[in-house]
Amino acid sequence: MPDATIQDTPSQDAAYNYGYLDEQTKRMIRRAILKAVAVPGYQVPFGGREMPLPYGWGTGGIQVTAAIIGREDTLKVIDQGADDTTNAVSIRRFFARVAQVATTTHTKEATIIQTRHRVPETPLTDGQILVFQVPIPEPLRMLEPRETETRTLHALSEYGVMQVSLYESIARHGRIAKTYNYPVMVNGRYIMSPSPIPKFDNPKLDRSPALQLYGAGREKRIYAVPPHTPVNSLDFDDHPFEVETWTESCELCGSTESFLDEMIVDDTGKRLFVCSDTDYCESRR
């Protein structure tokens, strides 16, 4: 198994505050996080800052992480489940640089895991924080483009439009064809976007012992799911929620239970399947 500690701890830039953000900004973000934790699934507007990474590349998640990280933390960053994807590497280097924090690829060792598009396969535990990068925090956005409208719909729990869209999917395809960013109901009150994770990961959000924080930088929203909070994927009695399955198993570790990435390995289109969660996969080999 490869060494989990990553050998890149450049020295801190003297021109920037610890964790990049100034202390007032951190305090403002922490307040937003506290409010978000107090009202699970509710999108709290916050004064999102311009970050030195582009919008859409995880500025929300980075701001949340920057506001909660301390020297004693161990950070893991994944993108598509993998620690070695370019954007994960870039964000991990950013925090190693501005927060001199220990980084790891092992899910179990991390106190903070920032993620894009996946929830680790290894079950999370008490005290861990999972930070999601969120492109579009509003689960109703593609059904109603107006913020003023969607805010009212949330306030009134008026979620018929979402149920209708799922029903339309069944009418058209015979099943709910939504595959990622699959809407969930949090604590029986707010419909929430779980960020573009595959629906395969939705069950992991339900009553997770870890704290889930969601940061949307461009849209300037933070929301949260506190530990042990019920998170239900929307469905119908006669069309219950179901996750993706594969007939193949992982080429490297043989797993039949993890989310598999499909790789095209030659010009004739030959395929093989491997775990998207690199840490999980390596730990089983």
Binding site: Y16, E50, Y55, G56, D84, T86
Partner: protein, 367 residues
């Protein structure tokens, strides 16, 4: 094994080296200095300062150099620096009647008090490539009339307003200026906040929207009441002093657009205003901003909101080019997990269709 999308540390390090190398280009060509960019690409510097919301010519020039002339990238660089700066207060409102104008025109009157001052403008140049610029050589300085800093330039709008023909500018009753870069935009937004958003907004986006109002998508019959460009003093009230002191001068372009308004039940017909302001010399931006500002007032003035330029959520949510550029380009990041989910479902749906077809064919054959 297939590793192309899993770049890793070395690939990123090499990519950073490559882009730095590309930026420098052929080492036999002299390197650009920041002064050269400031002086000779001044309008690019103006745009980067305006949309970067940071008045600093040398930082903007540095950003342009680092971004290899990609102005949106330069705006991004400048903003990412600006965001880390401490905020120690807000200046007093600029008094543009105190502007030492290098250029000042009105299209609503043949002559106006203070005069029409054409100043440096491309408006009446013939757009013929000047091949003499390809060769280096000193140019003689242009003769200029001495700028009169002693006389305040009355605004054309104020003159119209005296007769009640033009609505008065909005009163500044809430005092405290909100800062879009500190607090999230909440909709519906106040006009000052809208203007802040437009001032930071992408010039091309505002230009297209402003243009659309002229082509019938939310027409409001605009006239250039006045455009002025020049230096304005900036004043600040330090807490320990309690009175305003001048802390410097900035260059701005201001556009006061005068628009038709049919009047309503309570208000007799009068002209209304759209307002634009940009750092440096940026008339296209200031005018487009003024057109869109006026279009966004449709609701306030009881006009039907029928066009994109009048739609506050549409305009304000999409005006920012740093946001737009980031979100469009994030599609370059790996999305293979979500795509995998889609593949699984599309295959399943296709299999079901195939099965139904086979069954139908069998049923038909059996008949």
């Amino acid at each position: 094994m297939y590793v192309a999308v899993k770049g890793g540390e070395t690939a990123i390090a090499h990519s950073l080296d490559l882009v730095a190398d590309k930026r420098r280009g052929d080492r036999d060509v002299a390197e650009l200095s920041l002064d050269q960019i400031d002086q000779q690409l001044g309008l690019a510097v103006d745009r980067v300062m305006t949309e970067g919301s940071c008045y600093d010519r040398s930082l903007a020039a540095l950003a342009i150099k680092q971004a290899r002339g990609d102005l949106i990238e330069a705006i991004f660089l400048l903003r990412a620096y600006r965001t880390t700066l401490p905020r120690f207060g807000a200046s007093e409102p600029l008094d543009t009647t105190r502007m030492v104008a290098e250029r000042r025109i009105s299209s609503t009157f043949k002559d106006v008090p203070g005069g029409q001052v054409l100043g440096p403008t491309y408006d009446y140049t013939h757009r013929l490539l000047d091949f003499s610029l390809a060769a280096s050589g000193e140019r003689p300085e242009a003769p200029t009339a001495p700028a009169d800093a002693t006389h305040a330039l009355p605004r054309v709008g104020d003159i119209l307003q005296r007769d009640g023909l033009l609505e008065p500018p909005p009163s500044n009753d809430d005092g405290e200026a909100r800062d879009l870069t500190r607090d999230p935009l909440v909709l519906p937004a106040s006009r000052p906040l809208r203007l802040q958003n437009l001032a930071r907004g992408d010039e091309g986006f505002l230009l297209a929207l402003g243009y659309s109002t002229q082509r019938g998508y939310g027409n409001n019959h605009p006239f250039v009441g006045e455009i002025r460009y020049g230096h304005v003093p900036v004043s600040f009230v330090p807490e320990e002093l309690g009175f305003a002191i001048e802390i410097g001068e900035i260059e701005v372009t201001e556009c006061d657009m005068v628009n038709q308004f049919a009047g309503s039940h309570d208000v007799p017909p009068q002209f209304t205003r759209g307002y634009g302001l940009a750092f440096g010399h940026a008339e296209r931006k200031a005018m487009a901003m003024a057109l869109v500002d006026r279009a966004l007032r449709a609701d306030e003035l009881g006009e039907a909101v029928t066009s994109p330029a009048q739609d506050e959520e549409f305009v304000l949510a999409h005006s920012d080019n740093v946001e737009g550029s980031g979100f469009v380009q994030h599609l370059k990041l790996p999305h293979y997990v979500d795509f995998q989910s889609e593949l699984v479902v599309v295959r399943m749906l296709r299999a079901e269709v195939e099965k139904r077809r086979e069954q139908a064919a069998l049923a038909q054959a059996a008949e």
